[in-house]
Amino acid sequence: MSAGTLYDKVWDLHRVAQLPGGSTQLFIGLHLIHEVTSPQAFAALKDLGLRVRLPERTVATVDHIVPTTSQARPFADPLAEEMLATLERNCSDYGIPLHGLGSGRQGIVHVIAPELGLTQPGMTVACGDSHTSTHGAFGAIAFGIGTSQVRDVLASQSLSMGKLKVRRIWVEGQLQPGVYAKDLVLHIIRVLGVKGGVGYAYEFAGPAIDALAMEERMTLCNMAIEGGARCGYVNPDAVTFAYLEGRPYAPKAEGWERAVAWWRGLASGADAVFDDEVRFDAAAIAPTVTWGITPGQGIGVDETVPTLEQTEPDERPLAQEAYRYMDLQPGTPIAGTRVDVCFIGSCTNGRLSDLQAAAAVAKGRHVAPGIKAFVVPGSEQVAAAAVAEGLDRVFREAGFEWREPGCSMCLAMNPDRLEGRQISASSSNRNFKGRQGSASGRTLLMSPAMVAAAAIAGKVCDVRQMINTTP
């Protein structure tokens, strides 16, 4: 059993009571809500005649259903309009702050909470969205919940939870140029599998993790859930504190000094005990691309689609299903696979540094004929910062569309989606069948720089060859 880890410390600090059935009542420090998983929770609250216990500890935004072309109200889609109107009414009725469209602070919930300084080390963070694991980048214990649990957090500012085991994922060495946190996490999931993390919290540590910027740590923790781990985290350090200082909701003045001291003490100690440990070498990781229908079906861009013989026996049925669905042949190189649509954005890779990396590839080049390529900033703040640097112009001149912030084609609950058998190069997090809005649409997951490279080449290619040559 783990002891002395950040997970253990934060868990103990937030324990409220022991519940019948053996689960723990855990206090939730930050509750994030959005338009998709909250309406039924508010309706249940109303039915039960309950109030919101601590409205000031819940924060709302709108992200999943917003169009990324015109965000004028009312939306063209009446269902989308109804969902946003319902969120607005619920937030107003219960006194919950809402960072809405045009506020300057709207965006994907997992992008705005960190950039506003809402997410802080040592917190418990819950949200009705599985990618809540993102917030673990700050040394928070953050996890996705269902709508009944959203109701519970609204009503009681707490959840009934079971404690997870802790697996330390120790990453030696440094990522090579052209290899990003996205490649690292796709590689980790490739090795440990999409169910390898079930029952675990993932602690990411080691020299390669220490060297990651905050936005890269967010990408890494974001996809912990794709490896089956409900939460992933990085111990807070000077990188974390430098990111947080001066953000709107970060502590100020003397409070800041006390906060930093408290945060430092939460990190897993040298004597921490883990339930499991796995080691990786960052230097050995190539830009990674998925070829199949789960995020675990990934390979280096210089590799070939694995054959059945190269696949573990119990993974073979899924591999066969993936060959059929993706129409990719085992044993063929993934590089050179033609794509139709290129999407840069999402809670995984829609932050400023992601757009910078993609723009560096796009600058002075042009999207290949027949390719639809678009960039969706993760938030209004990301969009403003990117525009201030002229990234929007770089992308437009290269033939990419520059869109308004939202979840966009990650899950296609808005007008952005694949059509028919189209195949996308996507910086998002899931390549499930039908994920991007077409029941037969196909998704290749990769880093934003790799998506930009695919857009320019019209096919999957190794971004390392583009960043080493001038256009």
């Binding site: 998709v36 998983t37 039924q40 601590l54 269902g146 519970d152 009934s160 089956g228 502590p251 029941a439």
Partner: protein
């Protein structure tokens, strides 16, 4: 797409057993996007989800999907393989299954958020070994008319031939479902003074 809506009511109170026929969905890593595609999440109530469960898979199989087969209409037990319900945290997935008629799931393993979402609806998720689930699935496919009896107290499944299948059900959920305390809200509200004390002890709640 036929709507096979259950006429029985949703789970309420103590749950001792789940009775009925079973539907088999074979395959590992079946994600919640498969169970309920994202376009159906554009709703402010869960009411219509039963008809939309596995919508894309059903459309692809044009009537041959287990959830569309005439002999499986009215089934209340779902038998699945490994890591069922992975991916998105959408409670719409178990809601859609429940509104189609599912009252219990038997599988090799479940994604955690899905498991918790089922529990919050009063739907027990039993587990069994790989060999046992495969064997059960084979038998159910061969003889889909069997009336099963899943007991929560003994975590076992009795088929209509009288064969007993030993399953597992985590002790906590077993106790919560059997006692009718699977809906956590009232338990959480019962500890409000302790909650206040916990909040007061947290530096970030109190300006450090």
């Amino acid at each position: 797409m036929t709507a096979a809506m259950t006429t029985s009511s949703f789970p309420l109170g103590p749950i001792a057993a789940v009775l009925g026929r079973a539907v088999v969905i074979a395959g590992d890593d079946i994600d919640t996007d498969r169970i309920i595609p994202a376009r159906f999440l554009k709703c402010v109530t869960f009411d219509g989800l039963g008809e939309q469960v596995f919508a894309d898979d059903r459309a692809e199989l044009s009537g041959e999907h287990p959830f569309d087969r005439a002999e499986l209409q009215g089934a209340s037990v779902l038998v699945v393989n490994r890591n069922f319900g992975c991916g998105s945290s959408r409670e719409h997935a178990p809601q859609a299954l429940m509104r189609w008629g599912i009252r219990a799931v038997v599988g090799e393993s479940f994604a955690e958020i899905f498991y918790g979402n089922c529990l919050a609806l009063g739907i027990p998720c039993f587990t069994a070994s790989h060999a046992s689930v495969l064997s059960l699935q084979d038998q159910l496919i061969a003889d889909p008319d069997q009336e099963l009896n899943l007991s929560l107290a003994t975590a076992s499944l009795e088929d209509s031939r009288g064969q007993l299948w030993q399953l597992e059900l985590q002790a906590g959920p077993q106790q919560m479902l059997a006692s009718g305390q699977w809906d956590a809200t009232s338990q959480l509200l019962a500890h409000d003074s302790e909650l206040t004390r916990t909040a007061e002890s947290l530096p970030y709640i109190n300006g450090f």
